[in-house]
Amino acid sequence: MIARSVDALVVGGGSAGLAAALRLREAGASVAVVEREPFLGGILLQCIHSGFGLHEFGEDLTGPEYAERFIRPALRAGIEFYLDATVTEIGEEPGEGAAGRTVIALSRSLGVVRFTTRAVVLAMGCRERNRGNVAIAGTRPAGVFTAGLAQRLVNIEGCVPGRSAVIIGSGDIGLIMARRLTLVGCEVRAVVEIQSYPSGNTRNIVQCLNDYSIPLHLGHVVTRIEGRDRVEAVRVAPLSTEGEAMTGREFRIPCDTVLLSVGLIPENELSRGAGVPINEGTGGPWVDADYMTGARGIFACGNVLHVHDLVDFVTEEARLCAGRAAAFLAGAPVEAMLPVSAGANVRSVVPNSCAPSRETVFTLRSLVVKNDARLIVRVGGQEVRAKRLAHVQPSEMIRFVLEPGAVPQALPGMPSSRAAPTVSSMEVSLQ
């Protein structure tokens, strides 16, 4: 067992973890990053398609290229990296006079590593919803993959998963994989989407489906998977207006592969174990304007906090989070914060409080599609800021910056936002 003492410990060496670690090093903190893969970069490494970095770098990069932009400086920044290592436990809040919180990690080369750290940055990302979560009936043959697993098998392990596939879910991951499978010689017979509109963005619809004439069945559901040892077919049925599968109109699509692109779940088992309160709406921790969770000294950013669409926003969020963690380490005074809640047509908003004296970058998602929407920020019922948005849809995260001083006066608030919204709290809505 080895013991290490560091100012900050970052759990995860992907896009969020790397940006956070770099920012913390910039602030002079000693930083350890624990990453379970044998290399840095996280999920970006298997996202070999382009579209990353348009905001961050003004360039159209592939995932690995985007990752490299952070890996290179990170390797020279004096960060301690623990690769092929898994954090197994984040300990309780340290008592009075204690040097820091204990974090246990398990590493092939070092055995048990016991960290003592004053700030933990959660950057574990998310996992995929799987077949069990969506309860698809039928048999359990080989050939059923979540889209991310299939992506890993293709783009990193160099395998062709099957000869013909049906993809469940028209989110961006499913669409990207529709193209990727086609390019490696696996025919994609259909993409099946339960909503009446595709959830991925238009560029992907065009370049991943239309380019290859892949049929998109909107308002349909896969009712069962067939095949004893390997997938042989799926059955698909249209959904009624009440959302029931109309089995009388079921049809069969022969295929040997099924990909599931049915959602992502922030990976917060470690966080729960550490007593971090989780917002069941986002699946991630409640965080205040410092991106600090309800557990003192534990911060969260990236997909573990809430599922992002653009890695550029992950990078920004990680930097902001790490900046506040650095301030925490330096003993900066805690500012008054205003709780922020989700108003009409807002599914979730992060962070969950706002420090009026600072700039706040909010990210939020709508509940339904709306054209010509107004993003309205109200405090105590009064409209404080409004912005027109031509088009909002649930699958596209919205970024909104509230400048310092936008709230007329700093109201005495609570350091965290887990209390129920009161008249003097802030509400963001999309109407």
Partner: protein, 154 residues
Amino acid sequence: MSAGRGRTSAGSRKELVCIACPIGCRLVVTTDASEETTVTGNRCARGESYGKEEVLAPKRILTAVVPTDSARFPCAPVRTDHAIRREKAGTLLADLYGRTVKLPVREGQVLIEDFDGARVVFTRTLPPDEVPAVGKAGSEPEGQDEVTRLQQSP
């Protein structure tokens, strides 16, 4: 909603959604007998050029993985640095899949100097650059006394 597929026949009309920016104007692209194309429904010049190109000579950035000689890193990701004509993608893929790249390669390293006006480059450094080992410059594990203390049952 469908994109144009390769060259249109003379005197045809295609409807497509512009993807140059998030607005997504619905474009109508008409081609007359002398292959003059006209774009309507766009709000800006980018939309006009997207519409024309998409119908006359649609281009795409191609990303793919190429087999390597390494068991640990069996394939290397590559990209075209510029968009190439869509109908050329199959040829490029066949070329790539027939290769066995020898590692190491560096991100940005050129694999093919010119394919339809674009370079094909590697997008990842493989094997990845080594991270400094814990115990080397700048990070010493704590001494033996720490280890002894921690061997007691928690």
